[in-house]
């Protein structure tokens, strides 16, 4: 295989010349510019998500209410990173922590950042933040702090990659959708059919 590598790179060198390393425009130059939370929420809604702005300690209550409004069972999978949100305050809400499976209808997941430019949530995978939970359940309820909303894609990328890159950085912009049948947009292709975002303030 390394022979193929040498031939491909050799052809490129022949055609492009060795030249000096061009210094790339470094992504890290973008500072973590704060984004407009109102714009962020509007863009998220435009992408098909629903948004609620609540105090940080009201997450369990908001989750319970959302499930009731949607006529869903009072049972959620919670990503371990959100285990300490005071779930005991909602005794009627059944919570399970860890990785989601096919039986989980709804999951509560953290978003590490928001992007005002695009209305995206940024998921950064970690031991307490499995990627599966963002994609497998039918209904995703995402929690993002309003001071984690940054201005644009560059700011989000530089914040997400500030230490070493994790396995997965995912920008989530609305629920799952498809237009593969007669170009008509339908929600809930393989990922969540609905995305509810809780934007929290301290």
């Amino acid at each position: 295989m390394s022979a193929a590598r040498e031939r491909i790179l050799g052809r490129l060198r022949d055609r492009l010349g060795e030249g000096s390393q061009e210094s790339p425009h470094p992504s890290a130059a973008a500072s973590a510019r704060a984004g407009d939370v109102g714009v962020f929420c509007r863009r998220l809604e435009a992408a098909g998500a629903t948004v609620e702005r609540i105090p940080e300690d009201a997450v369990p209550q908001a989750v319970a209410q959302y499930l009731t409004q949607r006529n869903l069972a009072a049972r959620v999978r919670v990503s371990p990173a959100l285990a300490k949100l005071g779930w005991d305050a909602e005794p009627l809400l059944e919570t399970a922590f860890g990785i989601a499976d096919l039986d989980d209808a709804a999951a509560v997941v953290p978003a590490n950042l928001g992007v005002a430019e695009t209305g995206s949530l940024v998921h950064v995978s970690a031991g307490d933040n499995p990627t599966t939970n963002h994609f497998l359940p039918d209904h995703a309820i995402a929690v993002v702090a309003e001071d984690a909303v940054c201005a644009d894609l560059e700011a989000a990328f530089s914040a997400a990659s500030v230490s070493a890159m994790p396995r997965t950085v995912c920008l989530i912009t609305g629920p799952s959708r498809t237009g593969d049948i007669e170009q008509r947009i339908e929600l809930g292709a393989h990922g969540p059919r609905s995305l509810h975002v809780l934007v929290t303030r301290k």
Binding site: M1, A4, I8, L9, R11, L12, R13, L16, G19, Q21, E22, P24, H25, P26, S27, A30, R43, A46, A47, P80, G98, I99, L102, T118, G119, S120, S125, G127, P130, T131, H134, F135, L153, E154, F157, S161, M165, R167, T168, V169, C170, L171, I172, T173, G174, S176, R177, T178, G179, D180, I181, E182, Q183, R184, E186, G188, A189, H190, G191, P192
Partner: protein, 473 residues
């Protein structure tokens, strides 16, 4: 399957396509679908032209130092625990993937959407080696059931009508089910595919995706999707294989951001697709999900030889599909008529480079050179210019008909003798105008029967443009 290098020839295939009622019904939706959505997205985003310039700049800088960015990508990817494989040809790439799968005992492979897998004929090859391939993108899944190939690069089943999908699902899903799924609306069909494919994601031992781009500074692959199937494919199985061609690398995440600003707007008319996912290496030691192995197969397949030629600008393509969505020829005949993996204007520009001018000689001619493709291309690829380049190559290689060559020779000679040209065209216009009669049109015309076979030829006004212009001043 695009196994081997056979290519259906455009002239025959396009005539068949024009008579296919289902296809024509599906294609009629392009205007209110893809075209209208892109127009809206561009109107909502006042900086679109600047964003295009930035995206073109990112890719132009990439291609100028492609070897260095590839080496950087490889080094960063390996630092993160990934493995990079290099493949010169489709056969090499197929073999690499097969060995990765068989050496790990993989029986079921789930797949996200990748045109490069179509380019190398991967599915048929793996199935011959007893590996079950499960397409998970809804459009790809539909055509896998139908045993067809994609007719569009981002909407592979765009040629299928809803009744055709209902019939396919009835044939393939009903035998194991006492009560059939409801199939009254597109939403019903989406729910059905979701239910059927859920289990398959978990059964798969390996997941294969393409890459919208690769990032050199971080050694990452990036996919942009709407369904979420790509993410399940690259998260749930224990092995993740990325199949990408060498020109997909960009230097930095910021360059990726520049491309993202034009990609979804040009493709589906969204400001941003639902999921943009950056994958870097396998799961980390503290992670509780994700694949334990991450492999990237880098395929050349002729692309390195395109650099430095007038066709090199096709390497900027980000596969958004805007050129085909707006092409009058694609809109009339659909994607299958182009005969190979990449349809529409980008196919007509790329296929001769990948398969050779002889095999693909009709494709650069399947264009009226109207220029809509170039107008909507977010990467400002001069597609009509590239068609003319391939047409010239076809002529040089004497692959066009004797009649076409004679006509071109006569035209060339006349055009080089302006006085004779003016005299000749002036006389022709005068005669054609005088002979047209009161209908002012011809139903038959010698030397133009290719035109008059299917429509009338309008009579000229009697003077050439040059005559009129000279009289005016």
């Amino acid at each position: 399957m695009f196994d081997g290098r056979e290519i259906v020839q455009f002239p025959e295939a396009s005539v068949r396509a024009l008579g296919d009622e289902n296809l024509q019904a599906a294609l009629r939706l392009l205007g209110e679908g893809f075209q209208a959505r892109r127009t809206d997205a561009v109107e909502r985003f006042s900086e679109f032209e600047d964003a295009r310039d930035a995206a073109v700049d990112a890719k132009t800088r990439t291609l100028r130092r492609l070897h260095q960015h590839l080496e950087n990508f490889e080094a960063r990817c390996q630092e993160q625990g990934g493995v990079v494989h290099w493949a010169e040809t489709p056969a090499d790439a197929r073999q690499i993937v097969l060995e990765l799968l068989t050496s790990r005992g993989v029986r079921v492979l789930s797949k996200g959407k990748t045109m490069v897998a179509e380019e190398i004929g991967l599915n048929g090859f793996l199935e011959k080696h007893d590996i079950e391939v499960v397409e998970t993108d809804l459009g790809e899944y539909i055509i896998q059931l139908a045993e067809e190939v994609p007719s569009h690069i981002i909407a592979p089943a765009i040629h299928k009508t809803m009744p055709q999908v209902v019939e396919l699902f009835r044939q393939h899903h009903d035998q194991h089910k006492a009560e059939p799924f409801p199939r009254h609306t597109p939403a019903d069909l989406v729910a059905e595919a979701r239910a059927v494919l859920r289990r398959r994601f978990l059964e798969a031992d390996a997941g294969l995706t393409g890459a919208n781009f690769l990032v050199a500074e971080t050694g990452s692959s990036v996919i942009v999707t709407n369904e979420g199937n790509g993410d399940l494919t690259q998260t749930l199985p224990r092995l993740h294989i990325v199949l990408a061609t060498i020109e997909k690398v960009v230097p930095t995440l910021a360059d990726g951001a520049a491309i993202l600003r034009v990609l979804a707007r040009s493709a589906t008319g969204q400001d941003m697709s639902a999921y943009t996912t950056i994958s870097t290496g396998p799961r980390r030691s503290t992670d509780i999900d994700g694949p334990s192995e991450y492999h990237v197969v880098l395929l050349d397949n002729g692309r390195s030889s395109l650099l430095g030629t007038p066709a090199e600008e096709v390497l900027r393509c980000i596969r958004c599909g805007a050129c085909m969505n707006h092409c009058p020829v694609y809109g009339a005949v659909g994607g299958h008529a182009y005969g190979w993996v990449y349809p529409g204007p980008i196919g007509a520009a790329l296929t001769p480079a990948l398969l050779g001018v002889e095999a693909a000689r009709h494709l650069p001619n399947a264009s009226s050179l109207c220029g809509r493709c170039e107008e909507v291309c977010p990467m400002r690829i001069p597609l009509p210019k590239i068609f003319r380049y391939w047409r010239a190559k076809e002529h040089e290689a004497r692959l066009n008909t004797v009649r076409a060559r004679l006509a071109l020779a006569l035209w060339g000679w006349l055009a080089a003798h302006p006085r004779l040209y003016r005299l000749g065209t002036g006389a022709a216009m005068w005669i054609l105008s005088r002979l047209a009669g009161r209908s002012r049109r011809y139903r038959n015309l010698v030397l133009a029967n290719g035109w008059t076979r299917s429509r009338d030829f309008p009579a000229p006004a009697g003077r050439t443009f040059l005559n009129s212009w000279n009289r005016r001043s």
